[in-house]
């Protein structure tokens, strides 16, 4: 039996299916063209610089660029015994060029990191080269040929193969050194990854503190946000609208204004301390320091981030029918039991959404810790800003920034699984 489906044709004689597909493709292109300007704009000005931060953070071409001839000569050296004459000659040439450009200092520093004591013998070499330039007679000049012997005669450590291996180790154009530094690790002279000396470990502590502050701020926000979101969701509309202002006004107020008010409240002669003295909690001459430490960071950040917890909680609690609680009570549950067994489980999605939101924001917070945190309340973002502006170690700042970003992205991914990006609501 032959089944023949007759194709439906449009008025132009084109099969309907084909015509429909064409129209859909046209619509797809139209929709995409509307999004394209913003997408392109963000890809160029925002996403690609973030990607560039990665290349910046692993970039380690400095030594390679400073000693081009040396590295070329080293290509054939196996690293077992002292390098051949050619390497010594090229190194002397490269280093003299650097001295002329007055940029050898950076190289000294970098190589000294790779091998302790490198800087001092390089300084000796520099002095010798400078004297040669000045044509002083006191020291023997470098003569043509047999540079190996002459350089070793400047300092016998140039005859130690370990120093030359150190130079060769810097050859790969990329290194994870900045990432290691961000977790207080370092590559030692044999290329093993080890922890830095105890006294110089600061970053692991900083990461842990960032986690700790973000966690406790989230917890505080949850503990304070839950009751008031519940109140807002259960009282009559006319009261809740009024009380909602208390949540929304801080939300819309400048961050710096809110931080300023906390600085006024928490200072030693401030209102909070006055209140403590008045109620007799503390003696007048023994006012506690509440600012420029972790207490200040906690108190101010919790208030600033509380609206981000309350708003998602409120929108979830609004959907919980009050009759459920009444049903629980009528079946013999005490208010506590019916709250714990019925109401609370129904609001967990709101708790998840609010907590993750607060956690993400808190982990990357910069302004408030910088102003009220003092030395013990600073977070990783403050360290990023410090390296961007003060030490100008931009590759290290990039490395730390990307590590922070990765952490935030993981949390955000969880957030997206639980809530969905499309469900972010504002105000």
């Amino acid at each position: 039996m032959e089944t023949e489906t007759k194709q439906i044709l449009t008025s132009d004689g084109v099969p309907l299916e084909q015509s429909l597909k064409k129209a859909e493709r046209k619509n797809k292109i139209k929709a995409f063209l509307l999004v394209a300007p913003l997408l392109l704009f963000l890809l160029i000005t925002y996403i690609s610089p973030i990607a560039e931060m990665f290349t910046r953070s692993v970039d380690d071409k400095m030594v390679t660029n400073m000693l081009p001839k040396t590295f070329k000569a080293m290509e054939n050296w196996d690293g077992q015994e002292l390098p051949p004459e050619e390497v010594f000659a090229s190194f002397l040439f490269d280093y003299t060029t650097l001295i002329k450009a007055k940029t050898q200092g950076k190289l000294d520093q970098r190589l000294n990191k790779e091998k302790n004591g490198f800087s001092s013998i390089l300084k000796k070499l520099k002095r010798k080269i400078m004297q040669q330039k000045l044509h002083t007679k006191s020291m023997k000049k470098f003569e043509e040929g047999n540079y190996k012997e002459q350089i070793i005669s400047v300092h016998k450590r140039f005859g130690d193969v370990a120093y030359w291996r150190a130079i060769k180790r810097t050859a790969p154009p990329y290194s994870i050194g900045k990432y290691l530094k961000a977790v207080d690790m370092v590559k030692d002279q044999n290329g093993n990854i080890v922890k830095v000396e105890e006294s110089r470990r600061i970053y692991v502590q900083l990461w842990l503190r960032t986690l700790e502050v973000a966690f406790f701020v989230t917890l505080l926000c949850f503990l304070m946000g839950y009751p008031i979101a519940h109140l807002l969701a259960t009282i009559p509309m006319k009261y809740s609208n009024l009380l909602m202002i208390c949540v929304l006004l801080p939300f819309w107020t400048s961050l710096l204004v809110r931080t300023a008010s906390w600085m006024i409240l928490l200072q030693q002669q401030g209102v909070v301390n006055d209140f403590f003295v008045m109620t007799g909690l503390v003696a007048d001459d023994n006012r506690p320091e509440m600012m420029y430490n972790k207490v200040g960071t906690y108190v101010a950040m919790s208030q600033i981030l509380l609206p981000f917890m309350v708003l998602p909680l409120y929108s979830v609690m609004k959907t919980v029918s009050p009759s459920l609680m009444r049903a629980g009570k009528s079946l013999g549950g005490t208010p506590f039991v019916s709250f714990w067994k019925i109401y609370f489980p129904l609001t967990t999605s709101g708790i998840g959404a609010g907590s993750l939101l607060v956690f993400i924001i808190a982990a990357g917070y910069y302004i408030t810790p910088e102003l009220v945190g003092g030395a013990s309340g600073k977070l990783i973002s403050n360290s990023i800003a410090y390296h961007m502006k003060q030490t100008l170690d931009w590759s290290f700042a990039s490395a730390m920034g990307l590590m922070l970003l990765t952490g935030v992205m993981v949390v955000y991914w969880i957030y997206n699984k639980i809530v969905g990006i499309d469900n972010i609501k504002l105000g």
Partner: protein, 286 residues
């Protein structure tokens, strides 16, 4: 919230404790804003409530810090305010234009790769500001726009568009697409349909997005700290500098003005939200 008459005493007590806790939390939320008002009218330059102020003695109060804010020679608040408004104005226009376009495209049911594109478009809202600051600074430095108004405006467009995209997409999610089809069937050109039918309906979303973009730009300090040169200082930068160096009551006068401004913005945002709900409500009654 009235308790039913059969409530036991211990739950009654617990209920009042709960209300007291809520009151305390509300005070914690809102009180810090109000401490600024009286202190900005202080006569002294110390940021504490003086004895005169506690006695409500008129001598303890003055408007000298407001005068200082407007006419003070040392304070570049005038320049900062002008810069802030200028930057926020253009950043808002830019954000609203490309943000609304993108939101309309995203809401089309034909849009391919919706999830990933949405994630990219709102990424500036999720990425910690400090990282955005570093990235944007690298870009602006590369193209020679660091320490220029153009650079700062572009940076604020980046930070402001996610809000516009989100608010407009939210408005469009309840949008009845049959009205645009009706317009098309009656012979209206797409651009005409957009201007006459779609835009008026999504206008509340667009304006509230614009408010968010404006506030974001007006209040933004982290990225500007990386980008701004000496002459393009803004109000947040001036406040930042003031808070770090010495807390002067002039800052409180500025802060008071900012609080009044944010109250006005809050009220308009709230009115817009209600209008938007009403507009969408009409559709539901069909």
């Amino acid at each position: 919230m009235a308790l039913p008459s059969y409530t036991e005493t211990r739950y009654r007590i617990w209920h009042y404790i709960y209300l007291a806790i809520c009151t305390a939390i509300f005070i914690y939320l809102i009180a810090p804003l109000f401490v600024i008002f009286p202190l900005s009218f202080s006569h002294d330059e110390f940021l504490i409530f003086s004895e005169e102020m506690k006695r409500l003695d008129p001598d303890g109060f003055s408007t000298r810090w407001y005068k200082d804010m407007v006419w003070g020679t040392k304070n570049p608040w005038g320049l900062a305010a002008k810069n802030s408004l200028f930057i926020a104005f253009f950043a808002t226009i830019g954000s609203v234009l490309i943000g609304t376009l993108a939101a309309v495209g995203l809401s089309s049911r034909y849009m391919p790769y919706k999830g990933i594109i949405m994630a990219i478009l709102i990424s500036p809202m999720i990425v910690p500001l400090i990282i955005s600051g570093v990235a944007i600074f690298f870009f602006m430095a590369k193209v020679g726009l660091a320490a220029t108004y153009k650079g700062i405006i572009l940076a604020h467009i980046i930070l402001g568009t996610p809000f516009v995209v989100i608010t407009v997409t939210a408005t469009l999610s309840g949008f009845d697409h049959s009205v645009t089809r009706a317009a098309a069937s009656l012979g209206s050109a797409p651009i005409n349909t957009f201007m006459k039918i779609t835009l008026p309906l999504i206008l509340p979303g667009v304006i509230s997005g614009a408010l968010f973009a404006f506030v974001t730009s007006f209040d933004e300090v982290v990225v500007v700290l990386f980008l701004a040169g000496l002459e393009n200082t803004t109000i947040p930068i001036q406040m930042w500098v003031g808070l770090r160096e010495q807390l002067s009551p002039t800052i409180l006068a500025v802060a008071t003005c900012l609080i009044i401004m944010s109250t006005l913005i809050l009220v308009s945002a709230e009115l817009l939200r209600r209008r938007s709900e009403r507009l969408r409500g009409i559709k539901l009654h069909n």
